[in-house]
């Protein structure tokens, strides 16, 4: 068993409200990612679960039991810190052994467990070194081994891959997913990297300014963002947002364009809206009848694709195109829009208006 649930977490540091009623439900055995920009309260949420942060309000339930007042040691959790927090005076071996020592395991048990972990993470050579003699990637592995050496109720990971270089990060992503699958344990994983969230998670909770914006599978968060902010935060290149309003069977842009009104929207005429269009739902090739006219603003070749910036009035649309696309800035072009995959948000509140009709 390993369910983690937090309810109504509130925490302020001086005048800064870090958590403002955070409620999350982490199912047993899931890879649960808490995603948000820096300062969103992700780490504070994790520390609250771990018992390292005194809460102003709210409760933490572990396996259904209220653990709000429990000491960290009593919660039976393991954590990987962003800074790794390896004990500087201890060897890698002693670092990994620490959770077992604290719980009074015999030295033969400890030796066996450390050996097993170090072979799983390929760090056998490093066991006698101190943290200062390890590279960032090696420290990360040792920190991971220290967390994984025990089978706690759940694993908490605070941006464990942030301090690694890109190649290593991609490698560790796969490795962590593999470990999660083979352990079958509950992972609560905090990151500001949406690629990590989308590629690793069973469930994603998007956090902003101490408030949960949306909880769902990566697909749900990407395809059906609950509001304009989630739509803008998740996805790269970011979603393009165009101001408009509905008028009869048409959508009329503030910049003068018109598009057929999507069948699924229930927004009343005249209400200020934002039309959200993801780069892959736009095309510079002639494919449908719904299109916007604009001028080429710039090209961002990314190797496997090129992002074409198209200026519609004063607004920029990001359009995903083949890597072979060419053009000169200022050139007129038509952008085809896949309206079935578009999003509409209330311009005032940012709340998605797409769900009702779909």
């Amino acid at each position: 068993m390993g369910t983690v649930a937090v309810h109504g977490l509130c925490k302020s540091f001086g005048k800064v409200q870090a958590l403002d009623g955070v409620t999350l439900d982490v199912p047993d055995g899931s890879f649960f990612v808490v995603l948000g920009p820096s300062g969103a309260g992700k780490t504070t949420t994790l520390r609250a679960i771990a018992g390292l942060e005194k809460l102003d309000a709210g409760s933490v339930h572990l396996d259904g039991r209220d653990a709000t007042g429990d000491a960290p040691a009593a919660r039976d959790l393991a954590m990987v810190f962003q800074s790794y927090a390896l004990y500087p005076r201890h060897t890698a071996y002693e670092n990994i052994a620490s959770p077992l020592r604290a719980r009074g395991c015999s030295s033969s048990e400890i030796a066996a467990a450390v050996e097993q972990m170090s072979s799983l993470l390929h760090i056998e050579r490093l066991l006698q070194r101190r943290p200062a003699q390890l590279s960032g990637g090696e420290m990360q592995r040792v920190a991971l081994a220290r967390a994984l050496v025990r089978r706690p109720r759940a694993f908490l990971m605070d941006e464990p891959l942030t301090n690694l270089d890109l190649k290593l990060r991609v490698e560790m992503r796969t490795e962590l997913t593999r470990i999660h699958r083979s352990f079958g344990a509950t992972f609560v994983y905090v990151t500001n990297d949406q690629v990590e969230a989308l590629s690793m998670a069973d469930q994603v909770a998007v956090l902003r300014e101490g408030k949960v914006q949306q909880v769902g599978t990566p697909t749900e968060v990407y395809e059906r963002p609950a509001n304009q902010w989630v739509a803008g935060f998740v996805g790269s290149p970011p979603i393009s947002l165009l101001a408009c309003h509905a008028e009869g069977d048409r959508l009329v842009g503030t910049e003068g364009w018109t598009l057929p009104r999507p069948r699924w929207t229930t927004a009343e005429d005249g209400r200020p809206l934002l039309l959200g269009l993801r780069a892959e739902d736009l095309s510079v090739e002639q494919r449908g009848n719904a299109s916007l006219s604009g001028e080429l603003y710039g090209l961002e070749p990314l190797g496997d694709r090129t992002v074409v910036d198209v200026r519609v009035g004063t607004e920029i649309l990001k359009v995903k195109a083949r890597p072979t696309v060419t053009g000169t800035p200022g050139e007129r072009l038509l952008v085809t829009v896949d309206l079935d995959r578009a999003h509409l948000f209330d311009a005032g509140t940012g709340v998605s208006l797409s769900e009702a009709g779909r």
């Binding site: 520390r47 771990a50 018992g51 390292l52 005194k54 000491a71 960290p72 040691a73 959790l77 393991a78 954590m79 810190f81 800074s83 927090a85 390896l86 004990y87 500087p88 005076r89 620490s98 959770p99 020592r101 604290a102 719980r103 220290r146």
Partner: protein
Amino acid sequence: MAVSVNEAVSTGPVRDHPPGARRLGGRSRSILEVALLAVLAVVMLFPVLWMIETSIKENRDVYAIPAKFVDFQVTSEHFKDVFVASGGGRSALSVSFLNSVLVAGVSTVLATVLGVPAAWAYSRFAVKAKKDQLFFILSTRFMPPVVVVVPIFLMYRQVGLIDTKLGLILIYAAFNLPFTIWMMKGFVDEVPAEYEDAAMLDGYTRLQAFWRFTLPLLVPGIAATAVFALIFSWNEFVFAIFLTSSDNVRTAPPAIAGLIGGTTVDWGLVAAASVVCALPVFVFAYLVRKHLVAGVTLGAVRR
């Protein structure tokens, strides 16, 4: 402290130019530096040298005019007099040295044992009005001892601590505690709190986490702080002379001062006693000099 700071500053020559380019300017500057340092050294070291010489001079050479700097008769008589009474047995001075060891040692241990956990708490926990509290703690050191010695004398007389070693130990510990807390808070701030967080998740209690993972990292800081506290207690004069009177309670500084003021002054004995008094401080500072430099700079540099 002055020794350690000089060491810290002058560990290596200043190399901000390539050797060839700065040759002339560099040499004239270094000559000036050496000259200035030499003058300073003479001013600083002459009294020390004179003290050491006097402590090993025969009495007639001590009073010789003109003063003899090199060709004097060497004797260990004065040092013997420091420790052995004229009629045989332990001298009053040697008792005062033992008192000093006891008072300085115990008060330093007391200040450290109380101050380190306090500093840790101030560094790690959200304490109400933390800054005000820390300022209050520091403010107890603003007044020189001589200002508070009379009220403390009256208080001590009330509770029977006058002329006791315990009284001195308590007042020195009280004086060293604010210093220890401030110094150590700087050191604790430098140790990431995440080590303790990690240890608590490993399964240790908060105190175990502090004891096993943070405290070992604080040892250099504790050593530096304790040396400063020890030197303060060892050298302290004002409280000692006001609060103690009998020979078997007095510490060394008032005891040595007591040698001066009779009809004749045995300068050889005064010098020898002073050398003995200065020696432990030198030795101790020398032993922990690396910690001292590391400690002082570590505590001082803010990230």
